[in-house]
């Protein structure tokens, strides 16, 4: 067994010929496929190795393994936070569109144990969708009377609707009313309209999100 210690990271990397089994090993992968090799190698490059080999991530208690069929060597990472590193690996595969390879049970358990929660604030987007849900209906089937949305500012929605704008831009302009602040709604609408014409709705949305906290930004930039 050849070992190499990386001091600053507290990681010990060993390579073994063949494969040695561990007491409590759990496979990271659901499939053992040649294709996995390519992904493994890319991931290993991040961690400083680049040979076709089995991977074992262990902290001495639990071992997380990714076995590659036909590999001669095994690389063993002795790391203090094996769980985190193992989850990094899972995340890497999932983000590169290889989510069907990973072992779902282990992934779910790791997420629970590490307490990982992805929080995204989608409130406003959902609200906008609710509002928009009425509009494509009007476009495709004109006789669609019920508007599924609970528009908060009715006079504002009326104003945006009268400008005969795309439904997307309309929804965004509505959200600016929350930003409101010291400037008038008409002003915000005007700015949003100009932006949406030149950059598209997404840019407007991002800009307005930023401007929500400090309405001064709106005034100074587009006064």
């Amino acid at each position: 067994m050849e070992c190499k210690k990386i001091e600053e990271k507290g990681v010990e990397v060993c390579t073994v010929r063949g494969y040695i089994s561990f007491a409590s090993e759990q496979s990271l992968l659901a499939v053992e496929d040649r294709e996995v090799v390519e992904a493994l190698m890319k991931w290993l490059n991040v961690y400083g190795a680049s040979v076709e080999q089995n991977v074992v991530i262990t902290d001495g208690v639990e071992a997380y393994t990714a076995r590659v069929p036909g590999a001669i060597n095994t690389i063993i990472y002795r790391v203090p936070n094996a769980k985190k590193v193992a989850y990094d690996f899972i995340k890497y595969l999932e983000e590169t569109g290889r989510e069907e390879w990973i072992n779902p049970k282990l992934a779910a358990r790791l997420e629970l144990e590490l307490g990982i929660v992805y929080v995204k604030n989608l409130e406003e987007r959902i609200k906008y969708l609710k509002r928009a849900s009425g509009e494509p209906a009007a476009a495709s089937t004109p006789a669609m009377p019920e508007d599924g949305s609970e528009a908060v500012k009715s006079e504002e929605t009326a104003a945006t609707a009268s400008t005969s704008h795309g439904e997307k831009a309309g929804g965004i302009e509505e959200e600016t009313t929350a930003a409101g602040g010291s400037i008038t709604i008409e002003e915000v609408c005007r700015v949003a309209r100009i932006l949406s014409e030149s950059y598209g709705a997404d840019v407007v949305y991002k800009y307005l999100l930023k401007a929500k906290d400090n309405p001064v930004l709106l005034q100074t930039l587009y006064a």
């Binding site: 989510e99 992934a107 929660v117 995204k120 989608l122 494509p136």
Partner: protein, 107 residues
């Protein structure tokens, strides 16, 4: 909601996003909305899946209640399921969360 059979069992980290997706799925019951945003609805539908096992069949949407009726939604759902005969619930959730956020232009 029967506990334990929720898709968040297989992807606990995405629990909150899945809740949003269920909300969107309720909006997708409106045929006009569903045909306007088929991909969004197909992704949101995965959150409404009540399958207790770790894998689902490729045509998992037959188990979703209320069952989707718009052809475009089903087509997008098939795309999310991928090529295999079976697909693991976690893989499905990961894919649909990605698609969902992309549809909302947030990813």
């Amino acid at each position: 909601m029967t506990d334990g059979c929720h898709p968040s069992k297989w992807a606990p980290a995405y629990q909150e996003i899945l809740l949003y997706m269920e909300e969107v799925w309720r909006m997708c019951q409106k045929p006009s909305f569903a045909s306007a945003y088929p991909r969004l609805c197909a992704a949101a539908m995965v959150a409404a899946l009540r399958e207790c096992g770790g894998v689902v069949r490729h045509n998992y949407w037959v188990r979703v209640k209320p069952r989707p009726k718009i052809a475009a939604v089903i087509k997008e759902a098939a795309k999310l399921a991928g090529k295999g005969k079976y697909v693991s619930v976690r893989a499905l959730v990961i894919r649909s969360v990605k698609a969902f956020l992309k549809e909302l232009a947030l990813y």
